[in-house]
Symmetry: C2
Subunit: 181 residues, 2 copies
């Protein structure tokens, strides 16, 4: 489980730089268009990642260590990304996400979690009893789910432009399937 | 259409650095495990991207400009990634992909494509008549389909570790749906 924590942190450390390399300076045709209706664009996703750094992962980790299962996590504000994204450019959002992630990981390292800590339990408002270890693995998987979403949002922008190739491109068959974590 | 070409190139330029930032130095638990059976791991995907730089995108673009629809593209070798990946570390594959992509884009720029060029047609062995513009948009979308796949392969490695959160994580509902481009 300690080994898994190291793997989790290795991924969490890399996500901001990966998103930065992919997205900074990219034409807005890729980043400011969505998948139709009131779906998210790429900038919205980055605002959501900042929101989760601020109000989800480390706050819930501390909640498990301090309160255990005695009271559930506060539910996440489903519109929280609006507060974190308002009036910001994608470049500003990428900067802010990188800063927030560095701060979170500094805090995580400072906890010097033991095997026993990783097995401690909290209570998710919808999922019930969960462990700190599961929360931390979910943090990494949540980065991946949004990288998956970003690639799908961007691919959507060239759905017509690829002509008949659309049926060979897996990302264009993906229907999108995330709920809130 | 010229504008679309600029958008396509902006993405193609960024993919190697994004994959590098995400993957270099990551523990092998993320990159050398697959989704079961004979599915691909992350390193295999990078070998496939190198294969496509070498034998798909620019060779087919030149084929359209030189031969038009008179003869179809050579079909891609479905096992080509094996030739390009054999005996190489992920770090070596990332380096090679970056070099191959730079070379491809230098060649693409040197073609100084006009609007008329972008409308020229070739013949895909399975899809029939396609335009150069569609081929180039597909090149970008193909990067995205493999970024989508990589995020899904990596998320698969923590499917058990996230416990009950799996059902909230869209990437874990994604069944994978690519064919060859």
């Amino acid at each position: 489980m300690k080994h898994e924590l190291e793997n989790t942190m290795a991924l969490l450390e890399r996500t901001p730089a990966a998103l930065d390399a992919l997205l900074r300076g990219l034409p807005e045709a890729w980043t400011e268009s969505n998948e139709g209706g009131n779906t998210w664009n790429v900038s919205t996703v980055i605002a959501h990642l900042i929101h989760c750094e601020d109000e989800d992962w480390m706050p819930r980790a501390r909640h498990i260590l301090h309160a255990g299962e005695s009271e559930p996590f506060a539910p996440l504000d489903r519109e929280g990304h609006v507060r974190f994204g308002r009036g910001k450019t994608l470049a500003q959002l990428l900067d802010e996400f990188a800063r927030a992630r560095t701060k979170s990981l500094d805090e995580l390292r400072a906890l010097k979690l033991t095997q026993q800590d990783l097995g401690r339990r909290g209570r998710h408002p919808a999922l019930g009893s969960v462990t700190l270890s599961e929360l931390l693995a979910t943090w990494a998987a949540h980065d991946l789910t949004h990288l998956h979403q970003i690639s799908r949002i961007m691919a959507h922008q060239v759905r017509e432009a690829v002509g008949p190739w659309a049926r060979f491109l897996g990302v264009m068959q993906c229907a999108g399937h995330s709920e809130a974590a």
